[in-house]
């Protein structure tokens, strides 16, 4: 066993000195959220570290839609889910096909298209919100969930194409050539060879797009306005519109809303790290 030296202790201390504040910084908001969600209404802002009478009543209120802010809770949660899943699926379809065409079929001008798409990230999404609103209104899509789905696919796709392109560049070209010699058409190559080998990256990219849509506020707020068609994220924003916001219900709903992403992240963590970093470094 190694002897403990002063140097080791001081290194450890320095790391802790950075680590502990970062941990607190991350954990305190979540702690607050949990604290509010298990506090009765009159004790929510009492400033105690743990409520005197912890309760799950807030959850019951939310699930039973017992507040006028929560009239459409289940519908809105469903909206969020439908929109997130659609964005995930559509983004995957678009970016996989694009990455395959650019990286494997070497379509002329493919790289230029990808770079142009990436270029859109130089403009903050907030700046594009108004043009996007105008466009959707031109197409008559305002208030339709398609508008948000299409907008989010537009925002997610460039990055996803780039990640998938980098990942597919790593697949040996000989595989395509072997398949070609074996008699595969481009579509068969895509379906039978390319897709199975890209699964880790596809999971990562799909999850990324799904979470991006799930967490989106600005675009959802702009493009959707009917209470029955907005996502839960927008509905949460509406809580603070009044002077006497039901904070404990806001936090409870927020906590519920945060659980699916956490679950998804932990399920696919393995792929997320492998998939997203796979495209990170050009080698």
């Amino acid at each position: 066993m190694k002897r403990i030296t002063w140097k080791m202790v001081s290194t450890e201390a320095k790391l802790l000195l950075i680590g502990i504040p970062v941990l607190l910084w991350t954990i305190i908001p979540i702690y607050h959220m949990v604290l509010f969600s298990i506090s009765p209404r009159d004790q929510a802002t009492s400033g105690r570290l743990w409520p005197k009478e912890p309760t799950l009543n807030n959850f019951r209120l939310v699930f039973e839609q017992k507040h006028f802010y929560l009239d459409y809770f289940w519908v809105q949660l469903g909206n969020s889910l439908v929109i997130a899943l659609s964005v995930g699926a559509l983004t995957l379809a678009v970016s996989t096909a694009a990455a395959f065409a650019i990286s494997r079929l070497k379509v002329r001008g493919g790289r230029t298209v990808m770079n142009l798409a990436l270029f859109t990230y130089f403009i903050p999404a907030a700046f594009l919100a108004v043009p996007m609103y105008k466009t959707m209104s031109n197409y008559g899509l305002l208030n339709s969930q398609w508008s948000l789905i299409l907008a989010m696919v537009t925002i997610a796709s460039p990055y996803c194409i780039w990640v998938l392109k980098q990942a597919s560049d790593k697949l040996p070209l000989e595989l395509d050539e072997a398949a070609k010699m074996d008699g595969a058409t481009a579509l068969q190559l895509f379906r039978l060879v390319y897709l199975p080998l890209m699964v880790p990256s596809l999971v990562a990219v799909g999850t990324y797009a799904l979470l991006l849509a799930w967490n989106e506020y600005l675009y959802a707020f702009l493009l959707l306005s009917k209470a029955s068609s907005v996502t839960l994220a927008v509905a949460l924003g509406n809580f603070v519109a009044a002077d006497d916001s039901p904070w404990e219900l806001l936090m409870t709903t927020g906590l519920i809303y945060a659980l699916p992403p956490a679950a998804i992240y932990y399920t696919f963590k393995r792929y997320m790290v492998a998939g997203l970093t796979a495209g990170a470094v050009k080698s």
């Binding site: 040996p172 000989e174 595989l175 072997a178 398949a179 070609k180 010699m181 074996d182 060879v193």
Partner: protein, 356 residues
């Protein structure tokens, strides 16, 4: 079973021309090896035959049918890649059956073909494994199995043994040759390793910088290289070459080099005083401690068991001699070189062409 013809084949990448009008024919059932240093265009030529590269000029024909515009899959050829290119997510069986599956062959036929190929290659127990669970040699065998299952007109091999270790390479070499003797399918094999070319080929095509330097049977190339390049490329250790001046007088001929007279037969294509390159293979010389011959100083003695390789210094140059058996010489000893005069090669210094 098929013949293959290359007719004035050219290939350019952009403005750079890398294959300059190559023509030769491969007869039915022949095993032809394309060999040359890297960048000579041998792989490109193979890939043009495979349909993986566009043909910039000329024609390639299989059984007299021009295939320039045909897709790879319609050319009825199978290829084994250097990197094996096995589908990682499929078992050995699925890998081998893939081409038949794409052709929608019925299950019974597929099973029979895969079974036959597995038997030929001795890998029946491996059929349900994944490529990642196989050794390099086994993977190479699967790649060959995938080609055999197709029962193609022509087999193409693109440096298939380069990724294997030395011992396995020798074993696989014999295996591929035995396979060809058994199946008798026309085969085009690309390698940069002249030993592979020598041991496997019915005929060798030596290429350099996009042109053919010489075509011939292995021993033909070894015994009568057309030019200095082929002379030095074929054979290991490679041929000793010395620059010198040809002297011919009174029915006698020799080459003056390094202050000595190197014996040659009289040449009709050369004249007295011509600058030539004198070539002699390490195995076509003998050393003796005393007596006649050109004196040389021993630099290094490398016994390999059956043979002894000597590095000698003659004047300002060095020559290698390979002797059968073992000899007792030490570094710094002076020995005498006896040269098998009939086996000497002489090349024109300017053109590098063989002189007779």
């Amino acid at each position: 079973m098929a013949s293959v013809s290359f007719r004035k084949i050219e290939k350019s990448f952009g403005k750079v021309k890398i294959i300059h009008g190559i023509s030769f024919d491969i007869t039915d059932g022949e095993f032809v090896v394309l060999v040359g240093p890297s960048g000579c265009g041998k792989s490109t030529l193979l890939r043009m035959l495979a349909g993986l590269e566009e043909i910039s000029g000329g024609e390639i024909a299989i059984d007299d049918k021009v295939i320039n515009e045909l897709d790879s899959k319609d050319r009825d050829i199978a290829m084994v890649f250097q990197s094996y290119a096995l589908y990682p997510h499929m078992t050995v069986r699925e890998n081998m059956a893939f081409s038949l599956k794409l052709r929608k062959a019925d299950a019974a036929l597929t099973n029979q073909r895969v079974g036959d190929a597995a038997r030929i290659l001795n890998m029946e127990p491996l059929l349900e494994r994944y490529p990642r669970e196989l050794s390099g040699g086994q993977r190479q065998r699967v790649a060959m199995g995938r080609a055999i299952v197709r029962d193609p007109k022509v087999f193409l091999f693109d440096e298939p043994l380069s990724n294997l270790d030395a011992k396995l390479r020798v074993a696989m070499r014999a295996e591929i040759k035995a396979l060809h003797q058994r199946l008798k399918t026309t085969t085009v094999y690309v390698t940069h390793d002249q030993i592979e070319a020598m041991t496997m080929a019915d005929r060798i095509v030596v290429m350099r910088d996009g042109i053919i330097e010489q075509i011939g049977a292995p021993l033909e190339l070894f015994d009568r290289p057309d030019n200095l390049f082929v002379a030095q490329f074929i054979g290991s250790p490679s041929m000793n070459v010395l620059k010198g001046t040809l002297r011919q007088a009174d029915g006698r001929a020799w080459v003056e080099s390094q202050g000595h007279a190197w014996p040659v037969d009289t040449l009709t294509q050369a004249h007295d005083g011509q600058t030539v390159v004198y070539g002699v293979r390490p195995t076509d010389m003998n050393v003796s401690a005393t007596g006649q011959g050109i004196p040389a100083k021993v630099i290094v003695v490398e016994p390999t068991g059956a043979e002894t390789e000597l590095l000698l210094e003659v004047g300002e140059t060095q020559v290698i001699v390979v002797m059968h058996g073992r000899i007792s010489v030490q570094p710094d000893d002076i020995v005498h070189l006896e040269i098998a005069q009939a086996k000497v090669h002489v090349f024109d210094d300017a053109s590098g062409q063989r002189l007779e």
